[in-house]
Symmetry: C2
Subunit: 226 residues, 2 copies
């Protein structure tokens, strides 16, 4: 079989297709509150998971699993774990930011019709994984790429997604029966939306500002502070 | 200002737009050898970096920097650092996989017209970052989301991208003048392509197989091995 036998023509997308990809990228939001109660069709969920499963993975390891959570009792326990961690988190901020922090809604665990926990099985490829030999985080990074694929596909489907990161793993793992050796990468809330913020919610609400891209770009080497 | 003032209508994409997003996701490849020598227009590079800069970031921290590398002497040094690490990597595999490993081309550092190092400044948001209080990796994960945005935008632009992970940070940082406190998340090779593999290259070349998605999906809790 000649080396090129599986190579196919790959041109730039037509303008309208390219614009659609950018539209997904630029209008994607981290959604915490705009979820509608509309049910989540199985075929849509399947497409989102296919998108995630087609992320790049180090050594083609595909280290991810997807735990779908709809059960209300499970979500109540997850929401409690969030609540406990979030109360701890609020205390960590300087006094002047605490009331602002507490005013932000940071999750849609109960409101979103579907929750999804994305995990990384670090043993899946054996001890030695092509591309992970010198950067042991590459399997976690592959799993993050799966999350971002899912997020952009969700936007195109009219589904909002929020990534909830304020948990202790030690609280979340027993709720979902996740073994010690499995890493939780993301806990996601998903549901249809008919409104999204035009800018990131933390920008709209005055938590942080968009940085100037020009100041983040360097040429030929690091040009920032030491 | 009423709470909803920055909310805008957000419908599902039209079918053709949605299909374009999936086309980017499903036809994106990790490119090591198909790069054309065509120059990389500044406006295209700018769009790719804008796409990266619009990734989700924990606490709207935007911890990323983008180091553009075109200089041939710099790339020669990076390629040497790769070569050294890759020779070490080959030795780690079982004897029967070593010749296969050595037959794979795993980088396009010299061939691609543009290299891009994406870093994470973990201090950018101060000590306490919203959403990072209980998962210290969230800033690194945000930076990975930026890489995946860039990868999908590149596909739409007709540009192939490869992620090179086989380096010692201690070799790469001095070449690019990156301070100790800054984390290297990704070293990327970019250039126009007119052909791409129809399936992931590591699948085409028999390194690993695509896993069955059904076996990766669990309901309500972990259902895999302990």
């Amino acid at each position: 079989m000649p080396k090129t036998s599986m190579l196919a023509q790959a041109q730039p997308f037509a303008d309208a297709e390219r614009d659609a990809v950018y539209k997904a990228i630029f209008t994607r939001r981290d959604v915490r509150d705009q979820f509608l109660p509309d049910p989540f069709p199985d075929d849509v969920l399947r497409r989102l998971l296919q998108a995630a499963h087609h992320a790049p993975s180090v050594g083609f390891m595909q280290p991810w699993n997807f735990i779908i959570i709809r059960n209300q009792a499970v979500r109540d326990r997850v929401a409690d774990a969030f609540g406990q961690a979030n109360a701890e988190a609020a205390q960590m901020f300087p006094q002047e930011r605490q009331s602002k922090y507490k005013s932000l809604k940071l999750e849609g665990i109960r409101k979103a019709p579907l929750n999804l926990c994305v995990t990384c099985d670090r043993d899946r490829g054996g001890n030695v994984v092509l591309g992970r030999t010198h950067n042991s985080s590459m399997d976690l990074y592959s799993t993050v790429c799966a999350v971002q694929n899912l997020w952009l596909a969700a936007r195109a489907e009219g589904i909002g997604m929020g990534w909830v990161s304020i948990f202790r793993d030690a609280d979340l793992k027993p709720i979902l029966g996740i073994p010690d050796r499995i890493e939780i990468v993301a806990y996601l809330c998903l549901g249809y939306v008919d409104q999204l913020y035009e800018q990131p919610e933390l920008e709209v609400k005055g938590w942080n500002k968009r940085l100037c891209l020009d100041e983040l770009i360097f040429e030929e080497g690091w040009q920032g502070g030491l």
